[in-house]
């Protein structure tokens, strides 16, 4: 009996045949990788198996595939671990989702990933005349972007993205994480226009569904979703960009409602979100009214089912100690700088040995 069985999805568009599954038995030690398994199958049984790989050390990002339904680097996944997560003992290896397949496990990175990375203008756009020699950047000002710089462009986050699954136009986690790499770079002179562009695009930062799928699969802990949230934070908090997608409105509405009531007044969240955070504007602005009308059937259904009572929709009680919540808001929101603790940077011990604490350098 073989040590491991790999069930590989085969597809060759040039053959005109539909995709099919093929199983391969491989004898390898448990600490060897899924990539080793695929390469062994290719060497010993079928030389036509298509897979990209290069460094075999989780650096080049070439071999991202889906293993038992979860996107990962094949070279960075042990056979023993893969089998532990396998159904019926077979390790299932497929090409990444959200990409056109070129052959077997090889996907078209140009069509999705690189196209989207290009979209965010992935190079510095400094302002003014360049210095005589190089730009001098204090190391501490670059710490903020080290996490986004760790990306190896493997596309695992793109393959796992649940927004892309239903909206192929979404700029996506990898490209947006790359965007933060430049938004957070002190040498870049186009911060506001970059943020304006990404906030206004209907498939930009406000098309991320906050599902953590990219965070879960990233082999380098870039946490693309966190970078997207930082883009949102910079767009709304630092530049007050009022986008057409209700991103600014939704954040403002939610934050303001908790400051006012302590818990969420759901009936006001939707109209305020459509009205850039304002209940009055939501009923005067034609675009907001149009959106409210679209949302009306759900509200009516909620009322009809008894899920939502008219009283509850109109009236929301404040917490008994709401003045304390307001005080906390005031103390924190009045600070000149936003305080952030990024565990990627300071380490999971909180960096107490170094006393490290990352601070947002922007005015609230």
């Amino acid at each position: 009996m073989a040590d491991y069985t790999l069930k590989i999805r085969r597809f060759d568009p040039e053959s005109g045949e539909p995709a099919y599954w093929q199983s391969f038995d491989v004898d390898l030690a448990p600490e060897r990788s899924v990539l080793d398994g695929v390469l062994r199958a290719r060497d010993d049984e079928d030389g036509s198996i298509g897979i990209r790989c290069s460094c075999q050390a989780a650096i080049c990002g070439s071999c991202a595939v889906r293993i038992n339904g979860k996107t990962a680097l094949a070279c960075n996944t042990k056979l023993s671990d893969a089998r532990a997560g396998a159904k019926a003992g077979e390790i299932v290896v497929e090409p990444m989702g959200n990409f056109p397949v070129l052959k077997d496990l090889i996907v078209d990175m140009d069509a999705v990933h690189w196209k989207k990375v290009q979209r965010v203008v992935p190079w510095l756009l400094p302002e003014g005349d360049p210095p005589e020699r190089e730009y001098i950047v204090p190391p501490e000002s670059m710490i903020d972007i080290t996490q986004s710089m760790a990306c190896i462009q493997c596309g695992a986050c793109v393959g796992a993205c649940l927004s892309l699954e239903v909206d192929p136009e979404f700029i996506g986690p990898a490209a947006l994480a790359k965007a933060y790499r430049f938004v957070g770079d002190p040498r870049d002179g186009q911060t506001e226009s970059r943020l304006q562009d990404l906030a206004e695009d209907p498939h930009g930062i406000y098309d991320c569904t906050h599902c953590f799928a990219c965070v879960e699969v990233c082999p380098k802990d870039v946490a693309p979703m966190d970078q997207i949230m930082r883009l949102r934070r910079r767009a709304t908090g630092d530049f007050g960009i009022r986008d057409q997608n209700n991103g600014y409105g939704h954040e403002k509405a939610f934050v303001d409602l908790i400051e006012k009531y302590g818990t969420l007044h759901e009936a006001q969240l939707l109209p305020r979100s459509f009205g850039q955070g304002s209940l009055v504007r939501s009923q005067l602005d034609p675009n907001s009214v149009k959106q409210l009308v679209t949302a009306l059937p759900a509200a009516v259904n909620g009322l009809k089912s008894g899920k939502v009572s008219p009283v509850k929709a109109l009236w929301h009680h404040k917490l008994p100690d709401q003045d304390q919540v307001r005080r906390i808001y005031k103390e924190i929101e009045s600070k000149d700088e936003r305080l952030e603790l990024n565990l990627y940077i300071v380490g999971e011990s909180g960096g107490e040995e170094e006393g490290a604490m990352a601070e947002g350098s922007q005015e609230s």
């Binding site: 699954e165 997608n245 908790i258 259904n301 909620g302 917490l319 600070k335 952030e340 603790l341």
Partner: protein, 300 residues
């Protein structure tokens, strides 16, 4: 078991049947809930977008109140989103003494302080049910096994990802707990593509099309897998899957008509509670077929 109970905003707002059903189910499982009626919203990921220190302080305030409940083993919530949002804050608060001290300074005027303590837990009812109450106890308490009922679990993102933060190293089966509970009450768990995916709720105000396509696809997948209903531990997922279901049908261009139960409702049915007292008449997608099947089981 005594717990500090954080019901969240939505269970007391647009899904009152969730809060009501949990109140009925708890005594049947010997859970004594001390509700945190002064605690505030977890931020649901949105306040975290706005200001990290603010959301961490608001949740530290809730944790401190929960830790002040005498004799409580930990804090229980009934919302996947609360679970994820609060765990994220707790991770930062536990990581740094300096940071935690700064946050606690904001709580001083209320006489509150969040103490980092590895023994203290914050758990969704699903986790508490499996890890603290135990499936054997649940099986013993079942008076109406839901045999023959095909139930599709829908977890909600915040309770399954990221696994590193959510304690999956110690509890690797947390992404199967729903199936385990469904089996324990005698029903059949339905496997389908969408069970760990996103319901789309966070996008409902920002990209309605993406949001409702997501919801619609998962509902369609569950229907195609021959499920009688879905069940979820997340009221926000419930809103997109139930309240928005008629609209979601338009976005995926097919008929959708599948009830979406809250986890305590499903458990409550098996424990002998009646559909009406569990608020199953307060759903947009009518639960009549499920109720009839349950009634037939009782009559059999």
């Amino acid at each position: 078991m005594k717990v500090a109970y954080w019901p969240g905003c939505v269970s007391r707002g647009f899904t009152p049947e969730l809060h009501g059903s949990m109140a009925l189910v708890a005594p049947k499982l010997d859970i004594e809930m001390v509700e945190l009626d002064r605690a505030n919203c977890c931020g649901a990921g949105v306040i975290a977008e706005h200001n990290q220190e603010l959301v961490d302080t608001l949740n530290a305030r809730t944790f401190a109140m929960a830790q002040g409940v005498e004799g409580a083993a930990g804090m229980m919530n009934i919302c996947s989103t609360c679970q994820g949002a609060q765990t994220e804050c707790r991770e930062r608060l536990d990581a740094s003494t300096d940071y935690r001290s700064g946050v606690n300074e904001h709580l001083k005027p209320e006489g509150l302080s969040y103490e980092s303590n590895g023994d203290w837990w914050n758990k969704n009812f699903l986790w508490l049910l499996v890890e603290e109450i135990g499936l054997d106890t649940l099986r013993e308490r079942v008076v109406r096994p839901l045999e023959g009922l095909r139930i599709a679990p829908f977890y909600g993102c915040y309770i399954v990802r990221p696994t590193r933060r959510l304690g999956y190293a110690d509890h690797p089966e947390r992404d199967r707990y729903m199936e385990m509970v469904i089996e324990a009450i005698g029903a059949n768990p339905v496997d389908y593509a969408g069970k760990h995916k996103c319901c789309g709720f966070p996008l409902i105000t920002m990209n309605r099309t993406t949001s409702l396509r997501q919801a619609g696809r998962h509902l369609a997948d569950a229907i195609d897998a021959d499920a009688d209903c879905l069940v979820t531990p997340c009221p926000l997922c419930h809103l997109n899957l139930d309240l928005q279901q008629p609209d979601a049908a338009k976005y995926v261009e097919r008929d959708l008509d599948i009830p979406v139960l809250h986890l305590p409702q499903m458990v409550g049915l098996a424990l002998g509670l009646e559909p009406k007292e569990l608020g199953m008449n307060k759903h947009v997608v009518k639960t009549g077929d499920v109720q009839r099947k349950v009634a037939a089981l009782a009559a059999a």
